[in-house]
């Protein structure tokens, strides 16, 4: 099917401004090649991400959602990423529970110095999503 071949996964990436967002900039200025499928949304801290953001991204048509923040111990607000780790674990389990493919939600720790890691995370994620095809379980009908 040509539609399947043309399929380009849409990734919504919630990036912490103190690390992963800067990491993505570094990947850019270092001219590292990686797929352009991610729409970055910079957040002040992964701890500020409500599970509602994740559900809403899927609802509005994301094929995959990435949450990326600072390594444990490096949070600008000291404990935001610890809180995020718990919340994201729970929403991940809930998505899995209703039968959403595990590979549609991903979380990573990418520091401001890890441009190459950022590129790798996106490359891997897009590759996995390519295998899965379009996400239409949680998608609003008008966005289909």
């Amino acid at each position: 099917m040509s539609e399947q071949q043309d399929y380009e996964p849409r990734v919504v990436a919630f990036l912490c401004k103190w690390c992963s967002s800067a990491g993505s900039d570094l990947a850019g200025v270092s001219r590292i090649q990686y797929p352009a499928n991610a729409t970055p949304i910079t957040v002040p801290c992964t701890g500020a991400i409500s599970p509602m953001y994740i559900l809403s991204a899927f609802n509005k048509g994301a094929d995959g959602v990435l949450v990326s923040g600072c390594h444990i111990g490096d949070c600008h607000y000291l404990e935001g990423n610890y809180l995020a780790r718990r919340k994201m674990y729970l929403i991940m389990k809930l998505l899995e529970f209703i039968g959403v493919e595990q590979n549609r939600f991903r979380m990573s720790w990418v520091s401001a110095a890890e441009g190459a890691k950022f590129a790798q995370v996106i490359t891997d994620f897009v590759g996995d999503l390519q295998q899965l095809g379009p996400q239409d379980k949680l998608k609003r009908a008008e966005n289909k």
Partner: protein, 343 residues
């Protein structure tokens, strides 16, 4: 065994002495065998109180209503409200106290132990009565006794009990001012999360097929939200009241508002609602079962809440409603929380 007279005497006494502003309990309802919530303010009303296997309502909901009413009327509480609470209901009160919804002295908890049984599941019971209507229900040891037009029907409680009661290991209201019935903490009629485990044993594809059907059925009546003592938000994220749409609202204004979820009962919106609700109740839901019971189209809401409860217990060692001073699930963390799912 709980003596109804003791409950009635306590209520009468408290009201007569002015020790309670009101007593919230159960009385005979107008629909068949079912009990209904009762709000007593005069001592002579105490004899209306009942205690039987249809007392499933989580009355802590009305403590929340009372609070909202007081705030609205700008009144102060005065004497406490006394409330009859089963094990799960008392844990709901603990969560409300944990969240400072009201103070401990504002509520007088008349605990009732479910001892060896629990409350009846009407859907299970229907399968045993062959179309007959029960007009009353009573506890009797390990049995429930129902009266129907055809006479008395005695059934082992286990066969018609709500799943959550079968799986409940703490039927005794630990937090109480006064408690009736035997403390059977640790009893195990069925393993915790048994129903959830049966559902989870299916593959992801089957789970989705099931959930898709359930989510399709939801009519967004919000009965599940209305009946839940933990869903006390003045403004729910799924239907905004801060920005009401009036005739003066322009199309532009409407378009620029954040709408996380549409109000229409479409599958995608229902999923977002029910999943968001499950997240908001993680670590707060005490499995009182009211949302699941209230749903007119039998969406198995309990499974979602149970999934969160199970993860919380197994991964974070967290028990909802365990102690008033304890931390909340999502506003706390441990250094060794699972993190190997993160790349």
């Amino acid at each position: 065994m709980i003596k109804l007279q003791d409950i009635r005497d306590t209520a009468r006494d408290m009201l007569a002495k002015g020790e309670a502003r009101a007593v919230i309990g159960y009385r005979r309802g107008s629909r068949g065998m079912l009990a209904e919530p009762a709000f007593l303010t005069r001592p002579e009303e105490a004899d209306e109180l009942v205690w039987d296997p249809t007392c499933f309502h989580n009355l802590s909901l009305y403590l929340v209503h009372d609070r909202k009413h007081l705030a609205h009327a700008r009144k102060t509480a005065g004497a406490p409200v006394a409330v009859i609470a089963k094990g799960c209901d008392a844990r709901s009160i603990v969560v409300l106290l944990q969240e400072h919804y009201f103070q401990r002295e504002d509520v007088y908890i008349i605990g009732v132990s479910c001892e060896g049984t629990g409350v009846v599941d009407e859907r299970k019971l229907a399968g045993h009565l062959n179309g007959a209507q029960a007009i009353s229900a009573a506890f009797d040891g390990d049995d429930f006794v129902f009266t129907t037009a055809e006479g008395e029907k005695r059934l082992p409680a286990r066969e018609v009990m709500a799943d959550r009661c079968l799986e409940c290991c703490s039927p005794f209201p630990k937090e109480h001012n006064l408690a009736f019935g035997e403390d059977k903490t640790g009893r195990q009629l069925e393993a915790p999360f048994a129903a959830l485990d049966r559902f989870e044993a299916q593959g992801a594809g089957e789970r989705w097929d099931n959930w898709a059907r359930h989510f399709d059925r939801c009519i967004r009546c919000f009965a599940c939200r209305s009946v839940c003592p933990m869903c006390y938000c003045d403004e729910c994220v799924v239907d905004s009241i801060t920005f009401p749409v009036t005739t003066a609202t322009t199309a532009e204004e409407k378009a620029s508002r954040i709408r996380w979820i549409e109000r229409s009962a479409a599958r995608s919106e229902n999923i977002t609602y029910l999943m968001t609700r499950a997240m908001h109740l993680a670590g707060r839901c005490t499995d009182c079962g009211e949302c699941d019971r209230a749903c007119p189209v039998n969406v198995p809401i309990r499974l979602l809440n149970n999934k969160m409860e199970k993860e919380a217990r197994e991964q974070f060692g967290f028990e909802p409603g365990a102690s008033i001073g304890g931390p909340s699930l999502v506003a706390s963390f441990l250094d060794n929380d699972p993190g190997n799912f993160i790349r």
